[in-house]
C-alpha cells in the first residue's frame, strides 16, 4: 500500500514524512523489504510489529542514522538531507528513544541546549532559556536540577521538549510508555494529544496495542521486514491487529480459566506484616501452592519493592517472609534461592542477564554447581540442560552457545524465566515479566508461568499489564504502600484501573 495518506485522510497536501519503497539489508538478512509508509501532517501514526519485524530499521532510516539501500525518504514532499548532515536531520525529525539520551551529570538546562549553548556559555541566560522552554511545554522541572536525578517520566518530557526546541515538527516515540506507570502514561498521552493539536506529527511505537487505540489515528503494521497494512485505527480491531502482526488469528485477551485452588491447599508463601520504610507497610499475603497471585498498582505503590523484598534484593524494615514452614533470612538472594524462591527481576538488562555469556550459562547460573563436582561444570550436561530449557520455554535462538545479547527482548526474557525456574522453586516471583516483549513471546512466557503453577509452584506476579493479570487467580491492588483491593478472578478492566488510580470502587 503506497498511498496510505489517503487512508488517513487527516490533512491534504504533501505528507509530513514519507518512506518510498525503502529496502535495507544487513549482510545476509533483509531488515526491510520494499516498505512504503507516509504520515500525514499532524497525525499520530502507530508503527507496530513483533520484535524483528523491521521497526527499528525503519526508524533508523527515518532519523537518518542509516540510508536505505533502495528507495527514498522525504519530508514535506522534499527529499531527505544526506546522512552526513546531522543538523539538517535534527531540524526535521527527533526521536525519543527507549534508552535515554540524557547526560546524567549535567543539568537539565545544559541537556536541553547541549551543543547549542553558544561558544561561550552564559549560565544564567541558559537557565532562563531552559525555564522558558520547559514552561512552554508545561514541564514542571527545575532547569538547574541534575538530569540524572529526574524520574523516567520527567526525563522523557525533557527529551520531548528538547526535540521540539530544535525545530523538529516530526517526533518518533520509541516505546515511550515502557517504563512508566499508568498515571504517568495518561499524563504523557494528554501531552501527546495537545502536541498533535498544535500540528506536531508523531510516529508512535509500542507493544501495548491498547495505547495505540487511545492516542493514534492511523496504524502501520510491519511483519518479517515487509509492510502488511496501513489503516485508520478505527477500522482495525484488536484481534485484526494482532492477526496482522503475527500472520495468524490469535486472541490474546481470551484466557483459559484456571481450576480454582482450594482453601485447604497448603500455603507456600506467607508474608507477615512486611514493611519497608518509604515503600510499603503492613503487607499480609498468603499464596497457596499452585496459586497465581497478581499484584498491581502505580509506580509509587511499592509493588516492585515488595517483590524485590521477597526475592531477597531488599531487606525489609519489619515483618517476615515464610516459605512452607521456614522463615527466609531477609535481604539475601542466596538465602531466598535456598528457601526455594525464584525471581524474575524488573530490568532484565541490568539485573537479569550477563550479556556476553551464552544462553546456556545464563539460564543455568543458579544450578551450575549440579553439573559436576568441586565446581566443575561439565560442558555436555550444561548443553543438554540448556537444550531442554530452549525447547520447554520456546526460546528462539541459534543454540545454547549463542550469546544472550543476540536474543530479542522476548527471548531474553524467556532465558530469565528459565533461570528462575531452573532450581524448581516452590515460589516464583515475577516483576513485569512481559514488559517490552512481543505478543507471541508474551503468550509463551505466561504459558510457562501457568505450567509452573500447575505443578504446584506458588506464583507472585507484579505487573502493570492487564493481559498478565488475567492469568492470576486473584489480583491484589496496592496504593501508596498498602493493599487496597483484592479482586478474585473474573474482574473487569475498569475494576483494576479504578483501584490502581485510587478511585472509589
Amino acid at each position: 500500500m503506497n498511498n496510505a495518506n489517503g487512508a488517513a485522510g487527516v490533512h491534504a497536501g504533501a505528507p509530513a514524512v514519507e518512506a518510498v519503497h525503502t529496502s535495507k539489508r544487513f549482510g545476509a538478512t533483509t531488515a526491510l523489504h520494499d516498505v512504503s509508509m507516509s504520515i500525514a501532517p499532524g497525525s499520530t501514526h502507530a508503527l507496530v510489529g513483533r520484535n524483528g519485524a523491521g521497526k527499528s530499521t525503519l526508524v533508523s532510516l527515518l532519523t537518518g542514522l542509516q540510508s536505505p539501500d533502495a528507495g527514498a525518504i522525504a519530508f514535506d514532499g522534499k527529499p531527505a538531507p544526506p546522512v552526513a548532515d546531522r543538523s539538517a536531520w535534527r531540524r526535521r525529525v527527533a526521536c525519543v528513544f527507549q534508552r535515554s539520551t540524557i547526560i546524567p551529570d549535567l543539568s537539565v538546562a545544559e541537556n536541553l541546549f547541549l551543543n547549542r549553548q553558544g561558544d561561550v556559555v552564559r549560565w544564567g541566560a541558559l537557565r532562563r532559556k531552559a525555564a522558558e522552554l520547559l514552561q512552554e511545554y508545561a514541564v514542571d522541572v527545575d532547569p538547574a536540577a541534575r538530569a540524572g536525578d529526574l524520574g523516567v517520566e520527567q526525563r522523557q518530557l525533557v527529551e520531548i521538549a528538547r526535540a521540539l526546541s530544535q525545530g523538529a515538527r516530526f517526533i518518533i516515540l520509541d516505546e515511550p510508555t515502557a517504563r512508566l506507570d499508568a498515571t504517568a502514561i495518561d499524563r504523557l498521552f494528554g501531552r501527546l494529544r495537545a502536541l498533535s493539536a498544535t500540528g506536531v506529527t508523531m510516529l508512535f511505537i509500542s507493544h501495548h496495542l491498547q495505547e495505540i487505540y487511545s492516542v493514534c489515528d492511523t496504524v502501520t503494521v510491519l511483519r518479517d521486514a515487509r509492510h502488511v497494512l496501513t489503516a485508520p485505527v478505527a477500522d482495525v480491531d484488536h484481534d485484526a491487529l494482532v492477526a496482522a502482526m503475527t500472520g495468524e488469528a490469535v486472541g490474546l485477551t481470551e484466557v483459559e480459566a484456571r481450576p480454582p485452588v482450594g482453601d485447604d491447599t497448603r500455603v507456600a508463601l506467607r508474608l507477615k506484616d512486611l514493611t519497608l520504610h518509604g515503600s510499603y507497610s503492613g503487607i499480609d499475603v498468603d499464596v497457596r501452592a499452585g496459586e497465581i497471585v497478581g499484584v498491581t498498582g502505580s509506580g509509587s505503590s511499592g509493588k516492585v519493592a515488595l517483590a524485590e523484598t521477597v526475592g531477597g534484593l531488599r531487606r525489609p524494615t519489619n515483618g517476615t517472609v515464610t516459605v512452607g514452614e521456614q522463615p527466609v533470612p531477609p535481604g539475601s538472594v542466596p538465602a531466598a534461592l535456598a528457601a526455594g524462591i525464584g525471581l524474575v527481576p524488573q530490568d532484565r538488562h541490568r539485573e537479569g542477564l550477563i550479556p556476553l555469556l551464552s544462553i546456556a550459562e545464563n539460564a543455568t547460573l543458579p544450578i551450575a554447581g549440579s553439573f559436576g563436582r568441586f565446581g566443575y561444570v561439565a560442558p555436555g550436561r550444561l548443553r543438554d540442560t540448556a537444550r531442554s530449557f530452549i525447547d520447554r520455554y520456546d526460546i528462539h535462538a541459534e543454540g545454547p552457545a549463542a550469546p544472550v545479547s543476540s536474543l530479542s527482548g522476548g527471548n531474553a526474557q524467556k532465558v530469565v524465566l528459565a533461570r528462575a525456574l531452573s532450581t524448581a522453586p516452590s515460589v516464583l516471583v515475577l516483576i513485569n515479566p512481559t514488559a517490552g516483549v512481543d505478543v507471541r513471546s508474551k503468550e509463551s512466557l505466561l504459558g510457562a508461568v501457568r505450567a509452573a503453577a500447575d505443578t504446584g509452584t506458588a506464583v507472585l506476579m507484579v505487573s502493570d499489564e492487564l493481559d498478565d493479570l488475567r492469568h492470576c487467580d486473584r489480583v491484589l491492588v496496592m496504593f501508596h504502600g498498602r493493599v487496597v483491593a483484592a479482586l478474585p478472578a473474573g474482574w473487569s478492566d475498569t475494576d483494576v484501573v479504578a483501584a490502581v488510580e485510587g478511585v472509589n470502587r
Binding site: R86, S87, R90, R99, S100, T101, I102, I103, P104, D105, L106, S107, E110, N111, L114, N115, R116, Q117, G118, D119, V120, V121, R122, W123, R127, A131, L134, Q135, D140, D142, P143, A144, A145, R146
Partner: protein, 330 residues
C-alpha cells in the same frame, strides 16, 4: 515555577562538592605547623607549590582526559621523553646530544611539539583503530621511556640551553614563574571546561557519548584534541621539571602516574568520565603535596617514606569514597 530557590540550592550544592577538600587542606596546614614551625614559612610554602607544579600540570591533563571518559597512562613518559628529545637535538654530541646541533631556540618548541604528537598518536590508535585506551597508553608509556633511554644512551643530560632552563627556573614578582604558569593554565582550563561550548562537550562525551553524538558533537575530534592538549601539557610539565632540576634525568617523570590518578580521584574526578572539576583536582594535588612535605619535615626515614605516602593516598581515597558516598568505579 519556583525555580529561583531551587537554582540557588543547586549552585550551592555544586560549590559544596567542589569545596569538600578545603577543610582537609586547612587541617593539613594546622598539622604541618604543629609538626614543624618551618612548615608555614613562606619559603617552605613556595617550595611545596613549586614542587607540585609539574604534578599539577599532569593532573590538569589527566583530569580533562578522564572527564572525556578516557585515560592516558603515557603522560609520565612524555615528561621524560619530550625534554630529552628536544635537548638532545640541540646540544653537541659530546654532551650526549644526537649531534644534529640544531639552533637552541628550537628546543622549547620541539619539546611541546613532541608532547602534541604523542597525544595525537594516542588519539589515532584509540579512536581511529579502536584499541583499548589502557593497553595503548600502557604500551606508549613503555615505548616512550625506551626511546628516551635509547636516544640519551641512558645518560642524564646536563648541558642545557638557557631557554630550556628558563621556565622552570625564573622568578617573577617574588614567585617562581612555574607557579604563575600553573595558576594561569588552571584558570584557562577551568574557564574552558565551565564556560565554553567545547569544554562542555567534553563533559557530555564522558557522560553519555551516544547522547553527545545525537546532539551533533563530533566526539572523536573533541577527544582527539583532548589527548593532544594532554600530551602538550605533559611535555610542559617535563620542561618545568627540567628547569627546576637543571638536568634531564633518564627516569624523569617515572612513577608519577599513580600520584596523578590519585590526586584526580581524591579531587572528585570520576574514572568513568563526565564527572569532576579542575578545581577539585587542583585541591587533590595540594592535599598530596602537603602530605608529602609534612612527611619529609616530620623526619620519616627515606626508606619508609614511599610506603607511608602510598598508604596515606589509599586512606585518602577511602575517605573521599566515604565523604562523597559514591563508588569510584561503578
Amino acid at each position: 515555577m519556583t525555580t529561583v530557590p531551587a537554582r540557588l540550592s543547586g549552585i550551592r550544592l555544586a560549590r559544596m562538592r567542589d569545596l569538600t577538600l578545603v577543610p582537609a587542606i586547612l587541617l593539613l596546614l594546622v598539622v604541618g605547623a604543629i609538626v614543624d614551625p618551618v612548615f608555614l614559612s613562606s619559603a617552605n610554602i613556595v617550595n611545596v607549590l613549586q614542587q607540585q607544579t609539574e604534578l599539577s600540570l599532569l593532573v590538569l591533563a589527566e583530569t580533562i582526559i578522564l572527564i572525556g571518559g578516557r585515560f592516558d597512562l603515557s603522560l609520565e613518559s612524555t615528561v621524560g621523553l619530550a625534554p630529552a628529545l628536544g635537548v638532545a637535538l640541540v646540544i653537541p654530541a659530546a654532551s650526549n646530544g644526537l649531534g644534529t646541533d640544531w639552533p637552541s631556540a628550537l628546543a622549547v618548541p620541539i619539546i611541546l611539539l613532541v608532547g602534541l604528537l604523542v597525544g595525537a598518536l594516542n588519539g589515532l590508535l584509540i579512536l581511529r583503530f579502536g584499541l583499548s585506551a589502557f593497553i595503548v597508553t600502557l604500551g606508549m608509556l613503555i615505548v616512550l621511556r625506551g626511546l628516551q633511554i635509547g636516544i640519551t644512551g641512558g645518560q642524564n643530560l646536563f648541558e642545557l640551553p638557557p631557554s630550556v632552563l628558563y621556565l622552570g627556573n625564573a622568578t617573577w614578582l617574588g614567585l617562581p614563574l612555574s607557579i604563575w604558569l600553573c595558576g594561569l593554565l588552571f584558570a584557562i582550563g577551568i574557564a574552558a571546561l565551565g564556560w565554553f561550548r567545547h569544554g562542555r562537550a567534553v563533559y557530555a562525551i564522558g557522560g553519555n557519548v551516544d547522547a553527545a553524538r545525537a546532539a551533533g558533537i563530533r566526539s572523536d575530534r573533541v577527544i582527539w584534541i583532548v589527548f593532544m592538549v594532554g600530551g602538550t601539557l605533559a611535555a610542559l610539565a617535563g620542561l618545568l621539571m627540567t628547569g627546576r632540576l637543571g638536568s634531564v634525568a633518564a627516569a624523569q617523570g617515572q612513577g608519577m602516574i599513580f600520584t596523578v590518578f590519585a590526586a584526580a580521584v581524591i579531587g572528585g574526578v570520576s574514572m568513568d568520565g563526565g564527572k569532576g572539576t579542575l578545581f577539585g583536582a587542583l585541591c587533590g594535588v595540594l592535599v598530596l603535596g602537603l602530605i608529602n612535605n609534612i612527611l619529609t619535615l616530620a623526619g620519616v626515614s627515606a626508606q619508609w617514606i614511599q610506603a607511608v605516602y602510598g598508604l596515606i593516598i589509599l586512606v585518602a581515597l577511602i575517605l573521599a569514597r566515604v565523604t562523597t558516598g559514591k563508588a569510584q568505579d561503578s
